[in-house]
Symmetry: none
Subunit: 203 residues, 4 copies
DNA sequence: GATGAATGAGTTTTCATTCAT
DNA sequence: GATGAATGAAAACTCATTCAT
């Protein structure tokens, strides 16, 4: 529809990637409005029109970043889906593993995280979607007897997302804790409360 | 005598309050930048210059809203400080009560909440402060033997804040759950996990 | 929908009218694209934002001018509709009168004329409409016996419009001929060809 | 040897012609400003720099089109110059023939026509020139007794141009009438009005 | 206590045009 | 004969803010 998007050469691809990376940082640092195209291109060593060689407008580059974040987050969330027939003893590890992957992704992409989690309009929708996948997993596990019957898994799922979000901001992104440590602590905290009483002692 | 800030007449006070209320809604709905002074005064049935009769500028009215939120939130958080010599059986109720007050305040001031929790630059500082007070309480209680010794109360405090924040967005503000219900569910979820096994009996 | 358009004071109305008048000249002289808002406001002794106090955008002020032209042109064309029962001897005068009015309007509004006739996208539609009203008149008169039966009145109407348009540009606007003189010469030229043979001698 | 304008290869000549043809259509359809170089080269399957291989700039290609139109129109107009000693009975046919040639040219080059007649700055000058040649012819014929003595041939010439212009737009270009039909109808309409009564007999 | 009228200072966006290859 | 990549220069438009009344 427009002339944009059909650049082929490696140089162009590089400029585009550079703009994307810088834009992510600028958006993350200043928010959508205060991130100025002029600042982005300046940091990329380009001029304003060059920006429009690669992106339709400011909104477009922002959405591309949001899209990237969403895609990768969903992939990770999907992977954390539990398989059936899993042994009780593996559940904890499996969950920790999934959470670790997510924390690792977030910690490796701090700007993207800030954009996807706090700045985008879809942030809420994304969180809802992640919560929903999580909820599915939890219900399945609950039915399999891993968790106490009386727990409202919707609340648990939402709480887990809230905790993840918060700890990402306060512990992960500032580098205070590693993805692994964080994941295991969160799981520990939640499991001890969720695991059905009969399971508790033997563990 | 010729600067702003000292209007006294009832009418002026009314206009000011009106602007404040409308601004809160506009900021909450559109964010800082997309909340336009022109829109605020229009909804208030005033003109743009009238705005500057009551507020120094856009930033000032925003900060005033943030300040209001912070002040009231701190008051509530302070009140939830545990007194010494409290009986074990009352801890749970006491915490639930404090959380209920907070949820109630948030639910009664949805726009202010969005501003204070998500829009303001101080949001992070405020959460940190609340977390810190919470942490104090928790450590005190932990030392009093209410909670398991091995728990990292910093993590717990932060998790609690994260959960509160998330559930406020997904359950409280949309009116899906009452402050009371929410508070007791959260406390339940956390206590069951935090309370050391040996403490659990009386409940 | 927008805040614009509810200015009330006389000063504002004056500024608006001034902008309109200057814009007409600028559009007429440079065409739509090369008429710069900056130039318009500068000539009006205003700054750019003032423009947007009175008009939504560049296109809007242009359309307002086009609309004004169209409205007034249609009024004049309507007035030139012949009444039934008119005497043969009066037809010529009546037509001349109508044409005079139109020429007078065009000559008094040269910029508007250039905009309406040549610059606007609706120019063609407007000419078509005027042609159509003219055609109606002519057919009516032809049926009443004023004009030769064999004439294709559609061609005549279109020719009349073409001539009017051309002479407006070459004679009227440069002030070479008066509206009255022009009207009577045009009518003379056309009548002598259109009038049925039987009418010719007696005139 | 290193400047533009002297490409010789067949391929280059082809690209140049293609650009010219496409540009004509684009200018005709969108006007000078809204015809974008980017769109022209895209339709030609070329890139923007290629454009500057063949034309100095946007204005240059436009002027080349205008020039082509003018040249060919003048040729045709010149050819319609009456020779002396022509028989009365042939005048009508001769004029019709000339007009037919012109209408044919216009109808075969609709885009060029729109550019030359309406879009170019020289449009007015060109019309003036054509009018002038026409006027010469008419005066000559009038003096030869073909037309009524009292007629202002300047008015007639201008009227003829106006009619030609208008009918080109409404009848010729849309394909509603053939060049031949149009020419003969126009001549008919004008002759019947211009020819002095006493001359009329032989027709 | 309030308004009509206006503006300073930006910001995004567009487009013709060019450089190096 | 042509392209990938980039830019200079400008234009429309927005919005918080103010002056004079």
């Amino acid at each position: 529809m427009s002339q944009r998007g059909r650049k082929k050469g490696a140089v162009g691809e590089q400029s585009r990637a550079l703009l994307l990376a810088i834009a992510a940082d600028e958006f993350a640092e200043h928010g959508y409005h205060d991130a100025k195209i002029s600042a982005i291109v300046a940091k990329a060593g380009l001029t304003q029109p060059a920006f429009y060689l690669y992106f339709q407008n400011k909104e477009a580059i922002f959405q591309e970043l949001v899209g990237t974040f969403r895609t990768r987050l969903y992939e990770l969330t999907q992977k954390s889906r539990l398989e059936t027939g899993m042994e009780a003893s593996a559940v904890s590890e499996r969950i920790t593993g999934g959470l670790t992957m997510i924390f690792r992704f977030l910690s490796e992409n701090p700007s993207l995280t800030r954009i996807g989690f706090y700045l985008s309009e879809e942030a809420e929708a994304m969180k809802k979607q992640v919560t929903s996948i999580l909820h599915e997993n939890l219900v399945f596990e609950q039915e399999a007897g891993y968790f106490a019957r009386h727990l409202d898994m919707q609340m648990v799922a939402e709480s887990l997302v809230g905790v993840t979000e918060r700890l990402t901001t306060t512990q992960l992104l500032p580098g205070r804790k590693s993805p692994e440590a964080l994941a295991s602590e969160v799981v520990q905290l939640f499991l001890d409360g969720m695991r059905s009483a009969t399971e508790k002692p033997g563990d």
